[in-house]
């Protein structure tokens, strides 16, 4: 019996596999997000292995959801699936496909193309409903993780460089670890939520959904790829610093976490919407980086230094107060510039949803500024004069960090909201004639 089992096992290893994994789409005609100069006669999908054609395997929709594809055709080459198309007018089109892979799984995917028109990214294809409440929460958690990581690193390297006691050091790395792991995990969750919204598949079929056009064909997906790799590297550097008791790996970790935070700016409104430029992307990145440094620094001050390092409280508070002043200047200047850019009319503030969310964010920012001003103009001079530390100061710092986190929630909703359309510049009268 043993010999039979052994022989069966070896035979199974020796025989070529009918499928090493499920089929993968390797090429499509039209290509993913291709802009065509004329109407294509058909849509063709080429897989890396044989597939069985399902009824309505390829469905092509207009931007308004009208089905324009004909019957799906089998091909002598079982790796290819075609669907005929009629004459397509100018516009953007969404292709939703599915096929039965040789391993028995139904694989599915989505891509877009344009006929004399820009093809939208897969995340804006027909059927995708846009950011949901879950995505707002996940984006907020992402901002929080970024703040804990980047702000913690900034605080340790730019504000308080003196050695910490063992307990404070442990808590510092614990907070940093939560930030680093959170940035990776929440990033994956955010990507899967966005992909799920684009693919519009039930859970069982979503497991075999092709994510490649979203990971490689959208700004959001490319940012996800870069940021996941970047934050994995940052996690490794933070771990190395903890393991070796050296702070030098924290410098590249800070530089990388600030650099990879730009992924959000390069994939958001500041990069994709009308009127965006490298200046708007830079302003968005500066806004986010300064906010992360500020909120994360406050967390370190309130929850690491204050309870565990009584000797360093005064010095840490005074240094952070100076550091935060610079950060607030950056946050405000970049924020005002971006608000003016995205809301060209003042009444957009109360008539548009984007403006209303911005008003809530501005109210929270005003509260945080008042709180910070009280610390800066009342507490700081007293501490500089050598006055005893205020008993309620730790609670006040925790309160300010809580407001900072609430601002990040408003920012998360704002980032997922669509700014009002920019007014189209009218050509000069002479040209109109």
């Amino acid at each position: 019996m043993k010999r039979v089992l052994l022989a069966a096992a070896l035979l199974a290893l020796a025989l070529p596999a009918a499928a090493s994994a499920h089929a993968t789409l390797v090429r499509s005609t039209p290509a993913i997000q291709e802009r065509l100069s004329g109407s294509p006669a058909f849509v063709r999908l080429r897989f890396d292995q044989s597939v069985k054609v399902l009824p309505n395997a390829i469905r092509v929709y207009t931007a308004r959801g009208r089905l324009v594809s004909g019957e799906t055709l089998t091909s002598p080459d079982k790796r290819m699936v075609d669907a005929r198309l009629g004459q397509l007018p100018r516009g953007a089109y969404t292709v939703r496909w599915s096929a039965l892979s040789a391993d028995g799984h139904v694989i599915s995917g989505i891509f877009t193309f344009g006929v004399r028109h820009r093809a939208p990214p897969a995340t804006e294809a027909f059927g995708a409903s846009g950011p949901t409440t879950e995505e707002h929460v996940v984006r907020w958690l992402y901002f929080l993780a970024l703040a804990l990581l980047t702000g913690g690193l900034g605080f340790r390297l730019l504000v308080l460089r003196s050695p910490l006691g063992p307990a404070a050091e442990r808590r510092f790395y614990r907070v940093l670890g939560i930030g680093a792991v959170g940035a990776i995990e929440v990033g994956i969750l955010a990507f899967l939520l966005r992909a799920g919204d684009a693919l519009q598949l039930p859970f069982g079929r979503f497991l075999y959904g092709d994510l490649a056009p979203i990971a490689g064909g959208t700004r959001f997906g490319i940012a996800f790829v870069a940021m996941t790799l970047g934050f994995a590297l940052v996690s490794a550097l933070v771990f190395l610093a903890w393991l070796t008791d050296r702070t030098w790996p924290l410098w590249p970790a800070l530089a990388l976490s600030l650099a990879f935070a730009s992924g959000l700016s390069l994939s958001g409104h500041s990069a994709a919407d009308a009127g965006s430029s490298w200046v708007s992307q830079l302003a968005d990145w500066a806004h986010l980086a300064a906010a992360s440094l500020w909120v994360g620094g406050l967390v370190q001050l309130a929850f690491v230094v204050w309870p565990l390092e009584p000797e360093l409280r005064r010095r840490a508070f005074l240094r952070f107060s100076r550091f935060a002043t610079g950060l607030i200047v950056v946050i405000l200047s970049a924020g005002i510039y971006l608000s003016v850019l995205r809301l060209p009319r003042l009444d957009d503030l109360w008539t548009e949803r984007y403006g209303q969310v911005l008003l809530v964010k501005l109210a929270l920012v005003s509260l945080a500024l008042l709180w910070g001003a009280a610390h800066h103009f009342l507490v700081r001079p007293a501490l500089e004069r050598g006055a005893p530390l205020f008993a309620r100061l730790p609670r006040s710092l925790a309160g300010e960090s809580a407001v900072g986190m609430a601002i990040l929630l408003a920012a998360a909703v704002l980032v997922d909201s669509k700014p009002p359309a920019q007014p189209v510049p009218q050509p000069p009268l002479a040209q109109q004639r």
């Binding site: 070529p16 009918a18 090493s20 890396d48 391993d103 092709d210 994510l211 790829v225």
Partner: protein, 194 residues
């Protein structure tokens, strides 16, 4: 631009083979002799941690299905966690015995992820067979570091753990239909799909 999947499998198979051989050498000579040169104590945990870091590019670039992406992410995280815990223990930064459970936990989670991501039966195809074999090897092999965490000097458990990794590496080498180990025997054996 992406390397073929089999090359990636062979890269990780080589990593697991080196890991297994290091651990086997340690089990044979004993921990005291193995740790006479301080760098040797860091060798296998650092290799495991590095393999975890290297798994992230696999996760983000091979996105042909959600389940594969999530499974690769699980392997990246468990390898980094287990490697980090062992490095922390070797360095003296971690002391609690519970950290020794990171390795069996990583094997168990990895094995479960392998079994979940392969939804066909054992004999459906060679890849399915290997995925089941890999999953159960990791799952059952987790017993060795689990018992070894409490019986540190027993060569049986440490050798068992090392051999588990060697078996995983052999299975990984065989995990593609173009693998040189157990490759195509006959062009008539089935329809090539690549």
């Amino acid at each position: 631009m992406e390397p073929p999947a089999e090359h990636v499998h062979w890269l990780f198979a080589t990593g697991f083979l080196l890991l297994g051989l290091c651990l086997l050498a340690r089990a044979l000579v004993g921990e005291e002799i193995w740790s006479r040169r301080p760098w040797r104590a860091y060798l296998w945990p650092a290799l495991l941690f590095g393999l975890g870091v290297l798994m992230w590019p696999v996760m983000v670039f091979y996105t042909n299905s959600t389940i594969h992406m999530v499974a690769h992410g699980a392997w990246a995280q468990t390898m980094m966690l287990a490697g980090a815990a062992e490095l922390g223990l070797v360095r003296g930064k971690l002391h609690h015995t519970a950290w020794r459970l990171a390795m069996p936990l990583a094997l168990a989670v990895s094995g479960t992820a392998l079994l979940i991501h392969e939804q066909n039966g054992w004999l459906f195809a060679r890849a399915a067979f290997l995925h089941h074999a890999l999953g159960w090897t990791a799952l059952i092999g987790a017993i060795f570091p689990l018992v070894g965490a409490f019986r540190r000097r027993s060569p049986v458990w440490s050798s068992g753990f090392a051999l588990t990794l060697v078996v995983i590496s052999v299975l990984l080498y065989s995990d593609r239909d173009v693998a040189p180990v157990f490759g195509h025997l006959s062009p008539f054996a089935g329809e090539p799909h690549r």
